[in-house]
């Protein structure tokens, strides 16, 4: 089996990007990642895309291939919410490992802030079950709030501990000139921001941003003469337990347990081996629940660890070193891809001003739905 490696990565600016479209963001990110890998469009034989809210289409990969003038030997688009970016990396790795492709471009992007004119919250609420959730005014934050309330009641997590996660993400964003939000805030600021759905305040919720990001996944033997240090895909895994929160088998245990165990197991590693983690943080509770479910902390300990600074750059487990969805930016499927790109930059030693010293192993994790669908990717510096 051929080994899969990440040979290129790129992210556009994030924030409110005047004049950006879904396809312009795809193009900048995709061509940027290819340039980073030193590859021409004609050398790409695989193309994987996600989905768009602003330019929805049944066949987004074909739309992008046509737009940019690419004629890949394999193309597919996957729509699995926030987990999509990690899933596409896993799929790209499988394609090159199986020998179907040599260079797969994985590209995501959406102008979700400027292109939806404030309708993003309503549009996202429509992923709730039409008959059994939507009639009750359930929103995505409300669903995660149900998780948070249960988690607090079972494990003694506090609102201040959740706020400490948001503060850490913002501190990382302050170090990152590209981040969407860079104004520092405190635990008190989070606690005093208005409630969206108790116990989640405004600053417990992720941003809505325009942006795009892409990576190139190549077969190791095709990556010999590339410009940048190659990053190995050491292990990947998924876990799926439900779609709708009303049908979740548990409000405290999720598919990330299996996805991380599989990804780490395939890499021959354990959680304590990992130097830096980039984990989906749609809400503060998302990150906390995943850190514990995946085995990075014992039950009920991630909140206290966040409050003690363990998730900071320089802490015991640097987490979301770019600022995460909470402060770097969230552009639909690209939100999860920002985590992948950041892991690549950390492992290459390119994370100026926010570099985790000596980072050799990273775990990236995405989740889609309401902690419904999970994918973990373990990356390592070759």
């Amino acid at each position: 089996m051929k080994k899969a490696v990440v040979t290129g990565s790129y992210s556009t600016k994030v924030g409110e990007l005047e004049g950006a479209t879904c396809m312009s963001l795809h193009t900048e990110a995709g061509l940027g990642a290819l340039a980073d890998a030193g590859l021409a469009v004609s050398e790409v034989d695989g193309l994987l895309c996600a989905y768009s809210f602003t330019e929805p289409h049944l066949m987004l990969a074909s739309v992008f291939a046509e737009y940019v003038g690419m004629k890949p030997a394999y193309a597919s688009a996957v729509s699995m919410g926030g987990v999509t970016a990690c899933m596409l990396v896993m799929q790209a790795a499988a394609l090159v490992e199986a020998g179907y492709c040599r260079h797969v471009l994985v590209v995501t992007g959406d102008n979700r802030l400027s292109g939806m004119r404030g309708n993003a919250v309503q549009a996202l609420a429509e992923v709730g079950n039409q008959q059994y959730e939507q009639p009750y005014g359930m929103t995505i934050p409300a669903a995660y709030a149900l998780v948070a309330q249960r988690y607090m009641s079972e494990f003694g997590v506090t609102s201040e501990q959740l706020a400490a996660i948001a503060v850490t993400m913002r501190e990382h964003a302050v170090l990152n000139p590209k981040a969407h939000m860079k104004t520092p805030f405190t635990v008190d600021d989070v606690m005093n921001s208005r409630f969206i759905a108790t116990p989640l305040h405004l600053l417990d919720c992720c941003l809505i941003s325009d942006g795009g990001a892409a990576v190139v996944v190549s077969a190791a033997d095709a990556a010999a003469d590339l410009k940048k240090p190659r990053i190995d895909i050491l292990g990947t895994g998924q876990g799926h337990t439900h779609e709708y929160i009303v049908a979740a088998p548990s409000l405290t245990d999720y598919g990330c347990k299996r996805s991380a165990a599989d990804a780490l197991g395939r890499a021959g590693l354990k959680p304590s081996d990992i130097d830096v983690v980039e984990i989906y943080d749609s809400f503060t509770i998302t990150l906390l629940a995943e850190l514990e479910s995946m085995g990075f902390f014992e039950r009920g300990e991630a909140g206290a660890a966040a409050a003690a600074g363990d998730l900071k750059i320089g802490g015991k487990l640097p987490c979301n070193t770019h600022g995460g969805l909470l402060s770097y930016g969230h552009s639909g499927a690209a939100g999860g891809m920002f985590h992948v790109v950041e892991a690549v930059e950390q492992l290459r030693g390119e994370a100026d001003g926010r570099q985790v010293e000596g980072a050799e192993l990273a775990l990236v994790h995405g989740d889609g739905g309401i902690l419904s669908a999970h994918c973990s990717v373990v990356l390592g510096r070759a």
């Binding site: 919250v121 309503q122 609420a125 429509e126 079950n129 039409q130 008959q131 059994y132 959730e133 939507q134 009639p135 009750y136 005014g137 359930m138 929103t139 934050p141 409300a142 709030a145 149900l146 998780v147 948070a148 309330q149 249960r150 009641s153 208005r194 409630f195 969206i196 759905a197 108790t198 116990p199 989640l200 929160i245 009303v246 049908a247 409000l251």
Partner: protein, 129 residues
């Protein structure tokens, strides 16, 4: 803008017809004996397709609850803030509802009540003393 009205289909028609008659119907699998919500063509526990309808007593306990300050649309503005709860029914299944006539917390005992919503009737819960 109106609040969402559930659109019954072949899987769910008996449930919504029950709600119209103020009867909380749920499925039980004739193969493994487990209850399930929401209703569907297959048992999600054992994949058997032989399912029976039963009627719940209408009492349960709040498994989790949040107070929503920003609803999904202007239709929910007049209710805001409002509570959304996951309720564990005594028969052993879970469903979602708004809490009416008081504030619930985790563990609060509740009973099912019914509300008109467009041309349908939806189950909600109120606190039972």
């Amino acid at each position: 803008m109106e609040k969402p009205v559930p659109r019954p289909n072949a899987d769910s028609a008996p449930f919504w017809e029950g709600c119209a008659a103020h009867e909380f119907r749920f499925q039980r699998c004739n193969s493994c004996g487990k209850p399930q919500f929401y209703s569907r063509a297959v048992c999600a526990h054992c994949q058997a397709t032989d399912l029976s309808w039963e009627v719940a007593a209408g009492e349960g306990t709040v498994h989790s609850v949040t107070t929503v300050h920003r609803g999904p649309s202007v239709a929910f503005k007049e209710d805001s803030p409002y509570q959304v709860a996951l309720v564990d029914m005594d028969e052993g299944f879970r469903f979602m509802a708004n809490v009416r006539g008081g504030e619930a917390e985790i563990g609060t005992p509740v009973r099912v009540i019914y509300e008109k919503r467009g041309d349908q009737t939806i189950p909600q819960v109120e606190i039972r003393g």
